[in-house]
Structures are given as C-alpha cells and as structure tokens.
Amino acid sequence: MAMAALRREGRRFAPLLSPRPIAAVRSSLVSEEDIPFGARSISTQVVRNRMKSVKNIQKITKAMKMVAASKLRAIQIRAENSRGLWQPFTALLGDTPSVDVKKNVIVTVSSDKGLCGGINSTSVKISKALYKLNSGPDKETKYVVLGEKAKAQLVRDSKKNIELTISELQKNPLNYTQVSVLADDILKNVEFDALRIIFNKFHSVVSFLPTMSTVLSPEIVEREAEAGGKLGELDSYEIEGGETKAEILQNLAEFQFSCVLFNAVLENACSEQGARMSAMDSSSRNAGDMLDRLTLTYNRTRQASITTELIEIISGASALEG
C-alpha cells in the first residue's frame, strides 16, 4: 500500500520537481543518464505509446504479407503458363536485342502500387540505360509507361520523351483480352521500328531478373531476314493461302507484341507480389526487433523506479528504527 501511495505521490510531484519534465521523458528512450535532479520516477507513457504503434504497424505488415502471398500463388501459375505464348515466337523470329533501328519505343512495365521493394526502380533504371544506348543523331526513342510508379520516376527527368502512360491495369484480374486491347492501343498510337519491353521476370519469390523483349516491326523483320542470321530461315517456311509474306509478317508482329506484352505484364505482377511479400516479411521482422528493444527499455526503466522506491522505503524504515 505504502509503496503504491509513494509511487503515486512521486508521479504527481515529478513534473513539479524536474526542471525539464518533457525532456526527461524523451531521454528515457535514448539514454538513462540525463535524468534531472530530483525526478524520482519517469513516466513510461511515451515508450508504451511507441510500443503500441510499433505493434500495430507489425500487424499491418504481417497482413500485407499474407495478402501478397495468396495473390502471388494465384498469379504465379498464370505467369508460368503464359510463358508458352512467347516461346514459339522466339523460336520462329528469334530475340534480337541488339538490333539497330531508328525509331525505338521502350515499354516500361511497372506496378501501380508501391511497397514492393526495388522492382520499379530496376525497370526504370534499365529503361534509362536502354534509352542512352539507343539514342544518337537521327534516332528517336520514346517511352511507353505502364503503371503509376515508373511514370512518377520517369516524369522527373525524361518527361519530354514519354509518349503514352497506362495505369489501373490491375483493377480486374489480368487477362489476355485486356492486355491485347492495350497492345492494340499502343500499336495504334506510336510509330516504331522496334518495341523493347522492359519487365521483371519472375524467377523465385526473392529473385527477379530485369528482362528485355524485343518486338520488331514487319519491315525490320524483313530487312533482318534478308541480312541473314536467325531470321534468314524465315524463307524456308511455306506460307499457306493467298497472303503475301508482308501481310503474314505484319499479323505475326502484332500478335507477337500482344503475347509478349501479356507475358511481361503477368511476370511483372508476379514479381511485384513476390517483392512485396519479402519486403513485408523483413519489415515485420524489423518491427519485432524494435518491439524487443523497446520492451527491454521499458522494463528496465520500470524496474529501476521500483528499485529506487524500495530502497527509499527500506532506508526510511531503518532510519526510524535506528
């Protein structure tokens, strides 16, 4: 009883006695040496509040991790299945990342939402490097940006070169119809010799490879085919029906673009969820560490004030007896 009463007294007097009560409370978080003269017990309110907020943040990050994990599972299957769409094209037309053409269009794929680690900055960085690589006299390079995050980063220094921005792609679950309508819009709005799609290819939950897929325009395909190389084998294919080679190539290029874009968007969404999962995992771990440290400080302060009070009571009692 006496101890509780004393503690209450002490708390009531503490602000009166200490010259800088708030500073004293703050310092309890940082160091315990700066306690002003005469302050008997320090309020632990601030530490308790901080602990509560850290605990709440941890709950949120844990929930986000769970959401990302379940979304990842659904989208991973779709992304892996969609790989079958572009592989035949690569087998037929080959992937020619080093092709040198006049009009380049860089399609940067990113996410609309943040909190997913560095995947958006990676694709922006690769896009900028590619821009530098492909720029030169009488050459023209433009950006087509998918997703809010890459847009925000590219607006800062290369907004003159942005041709199209697309967002809100993931309002509904991604599907081929949606991406093909989008691909159609891109094809109609930009002039290109080569489209270069930059996205994060999903490897595992923790590793994403920034990847570039190149889609050539039909004229360039023809030019490259005449020059020989992998594309030179195109002539060995027999074309059925009355279409000319140019028509076939144009259809193929359009269809290839929509398929490659579909795969890119899915892979990137998959990487986004994976990156978000690992980011949220590490942030809830950090919150846990922080909580441990705060609990330690809190308990130590509490223990110290109890010990002080005990000593005071005992010494007071012994003074009366003696």
């Binding site: 907004k159 921005t165 697309i166 309508v181 989008l182």
Partner: protein, 70 residues
Amino acid sequence: MASNAAVPFWRAAGMTYITYSNICANLVRNCLKEPYKTEALTREKVHFSIATWKEGKPEKPVIRSDTPEE
C-alpha cells in the same frame, strides 16, 4: 478458305490483327453453353486508363473499360 478472303477486309476497316482475333475469340466464347459462358465472359474484363503525352505534358486520360463506372 473463307478466312483468307476476309483478310484484306478487316485490315481495310482499320483493324489490327489483335482486334480481329479478339472479335473471333469473343465469338467463340459466345458459343459456350451456360454456365460456362458467363464464366468465360466475366474472366475477360477490360479496364485501364491510357493517357497520351504531348510536349512533356499528359493529356486527359481515357478510361478503356467495358464495366460501367460505379
């Protein structure tokens, strides 16, 4: 061989191969029986917003969507 004759027509109408194949795919989906039909049709929802940029400034974004705004 009917499709061969049709090729120049859709191209002449300003369609790309993608639009053409989408229309064909939609026709095939509509051939499904219920309940698979509605299932297949709800799977293929289109929604995104697209903005063209002129001189470093975005123009008003156009929303391409087949679901009405709620």
